[in-house]
Amino acid sequence: MTNTIYLDNNATTKIDEDVLAAMLPYFTTYYGNPSSMHTFGGQIGKVVRQARSQVASLLGAEESEIVFTSCGTEGDNAAILAALKAQPKKKHIITTEVEHPAILNLCRRLERDGYTVTYLSVNSKGQIDFDELEASLTGNTAVVSVMYANNETGVIFPIEQIGQIVKEYGALFHVDAVQAVGKIPLDMKTSTIDLLTLSGHKIHAPKGIGALYVRKGVRFRPLLIGGHQERGRRGGTENVAGIVALGKAAELAQQHLGSIGREKILRDKLEQGILAAIPNTAVNGDPDNRLPNTSNIGFKFIEGEAILLSLDEYGICASSGSACSSGSLEPSHVLRALGLPYSVLHGSIRFSLSRYTTETEIDRVLEVLPGVIDRLRELSPFNSD
């Protein structure tokens, strides 16, 4: 196989070598259970505490506000369900049309269980309308869940402005920050956010670990009920190696935030290069309010899967829609929500960079892509229109 050019970092990321080094001892050497009444296990409690403090620090949170989970989906589910259980009389949920399936599919399930859900629409830039939000909020609204940044387009929501409005109505505010963490600075101390989800494998920690921020004072009911782990907020023997890895990854992410501009420069080079070299292309979403690593580009008249598989021949990894929905044949719900014309909708590709992305890789994509698009367009019946 050719050298892989991995531009699918919003789907999942490579584990940082330092993260791997940090977690390795907890597999075969310090494999004890932190709940144990012997030094061999008990000493693990300390490293779990350290990791919790590293994650807290990345968010500007306190250690006691961090609950380790197994993934972003668990965090999203746990947050929404906890918010509902904490306010059993309120039966209304507000979210957006462009959330991840971990929120959207849960909300659909909750509708069948008797809750009412408002799915806020977005405009062509992927932004919600504050008036629609305010009109939807009532005293019956238990929780408002809005993602910090969209996984497909990278569009960033004005979270604190939204939070201000939410707080006026006494609802809890959950933010799916799976894509934002490590890409934009967050500070819970000055935030309106009550609950925030993050996932390790998007920030160079392994799959199978995540965390939920729960603001002090917010009543919480666990999703996984079992032992006293995580101070009763998440049962199950602690995934020690994963927790250590997430801690280290959080520390590195915090350091990296300072040099995220490099990623943006490469992303812009890629995007500008594509737009300049290939006609009938456009950036999807909001070019200004965007994650620095994400570019979602629509290639008219052709179909995404065909583009991806062609790029794959060159070892270039990108995606159409989220990894979670790309098993289906439907065009992405996020792009549909933007109201994109059909000619673009099916031919949109997400490139997502990481701190490992090099300029050589970007150059290679710019070298290869025009030919790929050309070939596919030649096959297309719409091209000549």
Binding site: P34, S35, G42, Q43
Partner: protein, 158 residues
């Protein structure tokens, strides 16, 4: 695992003054204060040898059934008591016991309460004062051993 101080572990591994007191001289009295039971999982017998004339505790020993902090608290207690006047000893709080060990985890504070109550029982016995129950206590039972509630523990910790 509990975060025990080195002092707690040192007393646990090398307890001072364990056992009973069997020998006494003229003018000395031996009394025992007992709290807890085997049912509860913690129990303490505190033995004091008191000089009748000076009202001074000449010797203190213990027998403890309980966790590491119960054993360490008992051991520390006997050290604190030796040489004290009875009335001074009455004022000893569980907090002082815990402090002499460099502190105890909050969940384990009641282990030091056990020491303070055994002391109270011993001195009441010595003075012929009837022992009262702890029935007036409300709140959630934390230590079933003595009927100690969380409210009482919070009161004592403060």
């Amino acid at each position: 695992m509990w975060d025990y101080t080195d002092k707690v572990m040192e007393h646990f591994h090398n307890p001072r003054n364990q056992g009973k007191i069997t020998e006494k001289q003229e003018g000395e009295e031996i009394v025992t204060g007992q709290v807890g039971s085997i049912a509860c999982g913690d129990a303490l017998k505190l033995h004091l040898k008191i000089d009748e004339e000076t009202q001074t505790i000449k010797d203190a020993t213990f027998q403890t059934f309980g966790c590491a902090s119960a054993i360490a608290s008992s051991s520390a207690l006997t050290e604190l008591l030796k040489g004290r006047k009875v009335d001074e000893a009455m004022k000893l709080t569980n907090k002082e016991i815990a402090e002499s060990l460099g502190g105890l985890p909050e969940e384990k504070m009641h282990c030091s309460v056990m020491g303070q109550e055994a002391l109270e029982a011993a001195i009441y016995t010595y003075k012929g004062i009837p022992l009262d129950d702890h029935e007036e206590d409300e709140g959630n039972l934390i230590c079933r051993c003595f009927g100690i509630s969380d409210t009482k523990i919070k009161r004592i910790i403060r």
